[in-house]
Structures are given as structure tokens and as C-alpha cells.
Amino acid sequence: MLGFCDRLKEKYMNKELQKIAFDIRKKILEINKATNEGHITSSFSCVELLCALYFGNVLNIYPISKIKNPDKFIAKGHSTLALYSVLAKAGYFMEDELFSFAKKGTRLGGLATSTVPGVEAHTGSLGHGLSFGVGVALSQRIKNTNAITYVMTGDGECQEGSIWEAAHSIVQFKLNNLVWIIDKNNLQVSGYVDKVMSLGNLNKRLEAIGFDCVEIDGHNYSQIIPALKIERGSNSNKPRVIIANTIKGKGSKYLENRLNYHGKKPSKDEMEIIINELRMV
């Protein structure tokens, strides 16, 4: 149980995080407006999750590139507008660079590539990041560190068979130093995940494999942060997976749950509506 002071601190921090998330969404729209590139809705769904990781005292990474045995985060490949905005804010590179997004000569491509500071792996092709994370978590175990590997995937991405190969190995190798976050926004390119190729009862499936499965509101810091913070060096046999229920396009009513909008470029008029509707989550 949190004491009065802790609750006050949490409330204050959550307010701060909400403000940061609002700024990140604004930045995403500015980049998209300037470059006409990127996946806005996939990025909007995971803004709170990313802000919690980087600014909610979850990832042990600061001071950046100076800390010994930092935590690792393997990102959802299609969320680069959000990811790069967050990485710039965290100090991995200058914010001005964001406006080179997907342009000739940039290192900030449309999908996550490990040549960008702070990006661990090429996760543009779906179903790769979780396996990569298994290797990183095994490395941390061999090195005897208490660092944690966080991996975020989408829910549509869980249609890839390799995700389940990786899931089995996380449990088999008892990787309790790995946290798998599923940004469950229920949409993929061609429609609702349930309609395209249903994953069934994801929670039950993951529990049946042997995960400690936690289901949360992926836009609510009071639920996100405790779920992300696992005990370092724990002896648990059950690795943590978080099903973060999110809304694709969250933050602007026009975009929320909008079909056929994955990777779509808004028109000038649409952009005006989206910006005007942008609100604090």
C-alpha cells in the first residue's frame, strides 16, 4: 500500500507524465505534417507506455550511455514517430533531428532500425523483436546483471508464428528479467484483429504457457507503472507479460479506432481537425 506522501508523489508524477505525453503527440503531428511520413495511429496508442518507460522512473538507463549494465528496451517497429520523439526527449539525440524523419540522408527511418541511438534492433519486420529480446535477456543472465529487458510488440504482430516460439522460450528459460508488453490496440492494417485473424483469449493463452499475465489500461499511468516495475533479480518462475489495452489513435477523437488509417497520411483538412482535437489523455 502506498502512503499519503507516495500517493501525492505518484499523482504529481502522473500529471507530469500526462503533460509529456501531450507534448509527444503534438510533436508526432508536427513531424508528420512536416515530412508527410510515419504511422500516427500506431504511435498514438503507445505514447503512455513509452512515457512511463522513459520518464516514469522505470528504465534504468540514465545517465544515457554512461551507466553500466543499463536496462534494454526493444521497441515496436511501427511506432517510430512516438519512439524517436521519446528518445530525443530522453536525450539520445537532438530534437531538431526529428524533422529529418524518413527523408533522404536521415538515420531516422520509417521503421525502427538499430543504427539510431537508443534503438536495439531492426524491428520493422514483425515478429522479430521478441526473439531478439530473448537473446538480450539471456546475455544479461550470463553477465549476472540485474538489468531488465523490456520488449514491446503490437497485438496484430502476435499473428506471427515466431512470437509464439519466443513466448515458449521465455517461459522455458525462466526469463524473469524480461518484460513483454503487448500494445493491444485491436487494429491492424486491414481491420480489427479479431476479424482478420483472431488471437482468441490472449490472456488465457499466455497464462497457459506459464506467464504472469497482467492486463491493464495502457493509457493509465497508475496501472502502467506498477505493471512495468518488476522485482530486480527475482526468483520468480513466471516471466511477466503485460496486455496493455490501448486505443489506436488515442489522444485525438478523429483518429481513435479509425479504420483504414494505419500508416495513412492525413489530408491538410484532416490534420487541422486532428491537431484541434488533440487533448490530454
Binding site: 538499430s114 520493422g124 515478429g127 522479430h128 550470463i142 516460439e165
Partner: protein, 311 residues
């Protein structure tokens, strides 16, 4: 070859604590010894090659030197995209060892044959491609591969390979060894099929035909210089491979020789067909005309035809 692989990796892991062994449900003779000695550095990923390759990339990124071991056909074909995006695109130091080169997993049939692996893998940037000719060449190939710290695929046999070297030969990437010197024809081979070429060459020698045999164990990067010099000397060449001639050794050699002169060039291997027949290894190489006798006949036909102006 598999036995030698186990012994060599065990020794390497004793010397180098960065080496991690990743297997994919393979019949190791003594896997327990690895678990006892290196409990934190060997992981069996089960029948899940894609995940094994993805995880290996993660380990390499964190400074380890993973050796991924499995059936060549499954590493090269099933997990190809994991090799491409994770290891090659990020140029990470992972050594893949695919066993069952050519028809070495003989009676399981075409699903288990590695007869297109060279074709598909040589297209990948950053990936080196090596194939030891016999058991004694495996340890130097493995050690040189780990030293590179970039992605390497090693194509090995399985068991009952004919030994062609008395001791461990030197192996240098991008260097091919002339196994036998000759002046009438160049025989280029990769893997243990070299044993059939050697037998054929010995028979030809008795008839006054001197074949030069080159062991192309470094398929990529390939030793252009040795190949070009030999063929410019003999003016005739025959490639022999347990692989499709499309994209395999024959294509690699063609790439080397384009624009380098006019030569009599024949290719032995699978010609755009799957090896669907079953049997022992010897039966398969008989069926697909890669045995000593076929090589002998082909060389005779080339040399006689050449002398009679048929070509």
C-alpha cells in the same frame, strides 16, 4: 563431421567464455557434458529455428559469440528472414553451422537436403559462407569464423565423410587450397564431394590426364585469384557440387570468370530439380550422377571432345 563439431565447440567454449551454443533439438552425442560444464552458455531452443536465430542476434549485440547449430535446410530456408534482418542487416557476429550439406541427410528425402542453401545465402550482404571439405578442415574453419566477428554460415556434412587431409589444414577466408596440381583440367568442388573428384583424378592420372583439384571451402568471399589462374592455365573447368548448379558453386565460379577468357566449362550438380530419390548417400550421388565414375566420364568426354574440336 557432427562428432568433430561437438568436440571442437567444447574446446572453444572452454577457452572462450563469450561463446554461447544455441541448438535446435539436435541429436548431440553428449549434450549433458555441455550442460554440466557451461550451464549458462548452452540453450536448446527446440524445434523453433526462427526464434533461435533472433535470440542469437540479441546475444551477439550484447557482446557474445553465439554458435547456432541445426539442420542446414531449416536454418537457411525456414529462418532465412531472421538471418537477413537480425544478423546480416545489423552485421552481428553469429556463426551458423548447418549440418546435412547436400544429400548428407540422405534417406530423409528432399525436405532435409541442403541443395539450395548456397544460392539463397550468398545473396545476403555481410554474410560469409564456408564449407569444410572434410572433418579435419572443420576446426580451422570454425575458429576462423569466430575470429571474424561478422555473420558466417558454415555448411557441414553429417557423418562418414571421407577424410582428405592428414592433419588440420590452414584455413584463411577468401583463400582456396589447390588440393592436387594438374595442367589439363580444373576441378572445382565444395564440401566432401571432393573425395569423388580425387578418386576420379587418380584414375585419370593413370591415363595421362592431369586434373587440378581446388577445394573451394571459402564460397563467399571466394578466392578469385586462385580460380582464375588455374583455369587460365588448364583452359578447361568442371564444377562439382551437391547443390543446384543455379546459384551454387557453378554460378560463383561463372561470376569469377566472366570476361577473363574463353574456357571449356561444364557443371555437375542438380540441374534445377529436387533430389526426390531415397537411399544411402552413395545411392543418391549415383542417382544424381555425382560419383567418381560420372566425374571421370565427364572429364574424358570434355578432353576428347575438345581435342576433336567438338566444343
Amino acid at each position: 563431421m557432427k562428432k568433430k563439431f561437438e568436440q571442437t565447440v567444447f574446446n572453444i567454449m572452454e577457452e572462450n567464455d563469450k561463446v554461447v551454443l544455441i541448438t535446435t533439438d539436435n541429436d548431440f552425442l553428449n549434450y549433458q557434458a555441455f550442460l554440466d560444464e557451461f550451464p549458462k552458455r548452452c540453450y536448446d531452443f527446440g524445434i523453433a529455428e526462427c526464434n533461435a536465430l533472433g535470440a542469437a542476434a540479441g546475444l551477439a549485440k550484447e557482446g557474445f559469440s553465439p554458435i547456432v547449430y541445426g539442420v542446414g535446410a531449416f536454418i537457411a530456408y525456414r529462418a532465412f528472414e531472421f538471418l537477413r534482418c537480425n544478423t546480416c542487416m545489423q552485421n552481428l557476429g553469429v556463426v551458423f553451422v548447418g549440418f546435412g550439406a547436400g544429400f548428407k541427410i540422405n534417406n530423409f528425402g528432399a525436405t532435409h537436403h541442403s541443395t539450395e542453401d548456397i544460392s539463397v545465402l550468398r545473396a545476403l550482404p555481410n554474410l560469409s559462407l564456408f564449407a569444410p571439405a572434410s572433418v579435419n578442415e572443420l576446426p580451422p574453419v570454425l575458429k576462423a569464423s569466430l575470429a571474424l566477428k561478422t555473420p558466417v554460415y558454415i555448411r557441414i556434412g553429417k557423418c562418414f565423410e571421407t577424410e582428405i587431409y592428414d592433419d588440420e589444414p590452414e584455413f584463411i577466408p577468401q583463400k582456396s587450397k589447390i588440393y592436387l596440381e594438374g595442367s589439363d583440367i580444373t576441378l572445382l568442388t565444395t564440401g566432401n564431394i571432393i573425395a569423388e573428384a580425387i578418386k576420379a583424378a587418380n584414375k585419370l592420372k593413370k591415363e595421362g590426364i592431369n586434373a587440378e583439384i581446388i577445394n573451394v571451402s571459402s564460397l563467399k568471399p571466394v578466392d578469385k585469384k586462385t580460380i582464375i589462374e588455374s583455369v587460365q592455365k588448364t583452359k578447361r573447368l568442371l564444377t562439382i557440387e551437391e547443390h543446384q548448379i543455379q546459384g551454387g558453386l557453378a554460378s560463383i565460379v561463372s561470376d569469377c570468370l566472366a570476361g577473363k577468357g574463353c574456357f571449356l566449362f561444364e557443371k555437375m550438380g542438380l540441374n534445377n530439380e529436387f533430389a526426390n530419390e531415397f537411399g544411402w548417400y552413395k545411392d543418391i550421388i549415383d542417382t544424381y550422377k555425382l560419383n567418381e565414375e560420372c566425374i571421370y566420364n565427364k572429364v574424358k568426354q570434355m578432353i576428347l571432345g575438345d581435342k576433336n574440336g567438338k566444343f
